[in-house]
Symmetry: C2
Subunit: 441 residues, 2 copies
Amino acid sequence: MSNKIYKPKSISGFPEWLPEVRLVEQQWFDHIRRVFESYGYCNIETPSVEELDVLRAKGEVDKEIYVIDRLHKEEGDKEGRLALHFDQTVPFARYTAQHFNDLVFPFKRYQMQRVWRGERPQAGRFREFYQCDIDVINVDNLPISFDAEMPAVMWEILTALPGMQDEKIQIRISNRKVLLGYIESLNVSENIAAQILAIIDKIEKIGAIETSKQLNELLKNNPLHALMVDNILSLTQTNDLKSVQPENEQMKEGLHELITVMDRLKHLPEGAVVADLSIVRGLDYYTGTVYETVFLDDPNYGSICSGGRYDDLAGSYINKHLPGVGISIGFSRLFARMVDKQKLDLKAKTPAQVLVVIPSEEQQVAAAETAQILRKNGHKVELYHAAQKLGKQLGYAEKKGIPFVWFVPSEKDGMHQLKDMYNRDIPNKDFKDPSEWKANA
Amino acid sequence: MSNKIYKPKSISGFPEWLPEVRLVEQQWFDHIRRVFESYGYCNIETPSVEELDVLRAKGEVDKEIYVIDRLHKEEGDKEGRLALHFDQTVPFARYTAQHFNDLVFPFKRYQMQRVWRGERPQAGRFREFYQCDIDVINVDNLPISFDAEMPAVMWEILTALPGMQDEKIQIRISNRKVLLGYIESLNVSENIAAQILAIIDKIEKIGAIETSKQLNELLKNNPLHALMVDNILSLTQTNDLKSVQPENEQMKEGLHELITVMDRLKHLPEGAVVADLSIVRGLDYYTGTVYETVFLDDPNYGSICSGGRYDDLAGSYINKHLPGVGISIGFSRLFARMVDKQKLDLKAKTPAQVLVVIPSEEQQVAAAETAQILRKNGHKVELYHAAQKLGKQLGYAEKKGIPFVWFVPSEKDGMHQLKDMYNRDIPNKDFKDPSEWKANA
């Protein structure tokens, strides 16, 4: 054995949690999965890598991508280059195209995998992180009801994540056709149109006054520019969709879709979901509904759950028209925030709910048998590993955050005893037979 | 939008499953996790990558490793090189060393992550695959009881995986100290000793006669070689540990440990676990107990679940003596075998247990509300997406393998109806109120 010691360091941007934090992370994943499945979404996993050609099908890929290579390439290795996926949407589109004939449409799937981005690490930005996505994809037409299902699912998830209950969040919904339709009615160049969108996209950050200033500057050569800026601003700030006058078919369609979606979300609490025509979602490929989710007391933190509808998701990989709608939780960033804010209950360092102690060597077999009976009844049970001093065994339960300790009878026909570690003034419970202790009782 | 279509291909060695297969894969993971946690193992996840220096701490790494690199490296990027982990043991050792002061020992952890190996793909060999590991690590001393817990946990898992119930498997256990001790007593060179081990390691594949031939060839210059070969063979073939005469302290210790482990596994069915002194586990770093698991009707398939004890797991990363014992299921290889053998129940393409149909436009709202009530009661529910012809909606349930279909009342004060899709001769169940239908009822 080598005596050289290499002291390992954390790798910047690649989070790693202690067991007590991971335990809560698992609860988060379990909760998200439970809600996704309660709406009938099926799970898929794709490989961690895609062919570079797949990623390039929509144009050149940007520099955030990690490629993989064998450390010692052999002469004559002629593999296509593989890259770690940077999101789950591209792999999902590729998956749908590749397995098209084996899927039933509308195809509702959820995906909770790690993705990788080679960005410079900074607070809240990871290079390896989890995303939790749902998407629905269909052939030719996708009913608008799915646009309403997305935020309903996410509201149910985000408001019930362990530690998130006190956070005030809001899902904001727009339909890109409204703003795009309106800008089209202005008869400005494509370049100006794109710049208007880019300015509106920042409105939450820079505020209405600065937005107005930037729009005025951009449009100053247009004789109607003051009116145009006013109209754009009042459109993006409106609270009453029904009062908006559509300028063209595109705008009309967008308004109709958005009103329909909002109408189908009426069962959610007041303020949970709002229509907000200033939502643009940057330069993404969305063509209709778009979503963002913010902390109401920290809107500049950015969106924790976003998505939208795309007219044709998998068109780069298959000659079919496949519209889709999807939404994604930036899981690791959100989870890390809650860790930092110390909002999580980190008492337990193990899933075990009960420690079966071994008071003496003679009780070793009885303790092992009892542990096995408790497991069969659905309990998570650690059997202490040796007949050591009782104080040491109880101290171990305490250090690991195991809430109950089990004592096998010290004499024949004696009673089993269950001790509550967190409520020591509660008297022990006695059992004739360990199978009398019911799970979750 | 580009009209160029890139038709994606499967990437050799990187498995990807259809939804109906993934559904069973999830059941496998859930089952494994449930059993691991029932024994009090906590979960950890480590990043997908390690520093190359961490992997090299035990000596030069071999060519199976994938390194990652940013596709477009920038001038001045000075990152240490990162490699995808090729197992979970090295990351676990690094994790334990790095977080030593924050962990409670004995540290019992499970890990179920993907690992990567840049091998040439071949049947049953993947480049990206899941492993499911448990390990216990302790400071200075690790009680032998954990050596017995490993195969007990794995037996419980492997015999109850969905689709595996008919497979006859056997866990074989040895203790390396026995064979190593015996070989030491032969006073042969280190080189010869290693070659004896390598020959014994193949005994299952090549048989006793060929083993004897190869050992005779290897030892022919030794005057006692016939006796030595006989003794080695009879040692590795013995069924009665208590009859083995130890030649030295090492052998005695190994025999004692092995007998203790077998003794603590007496509660398992006859033949589930056997002592087999021919088990060597190749050139791995084990120092005591070793495990292999085979299909009894296909022993040459190789081990599906292996592991062992190591004297000092994390010694390359920390100046502490940290003995450990662990065992690992080669998950993806085993799962893929069961897929190939068509042993899995692939009826369902979705987790949804019930489809709420929308017989008419007017019933849309009632159907949505009913779906929501069923979800609140723990059911997994898909709401059909449009008021289409009933036959189409039932056909959808059938194609997706959804076992139940729910009809909201067609008139006020009418009854809800639940139809069993797989047992159509069973009469529909009627409910006044959807909350009367209990989950798992």
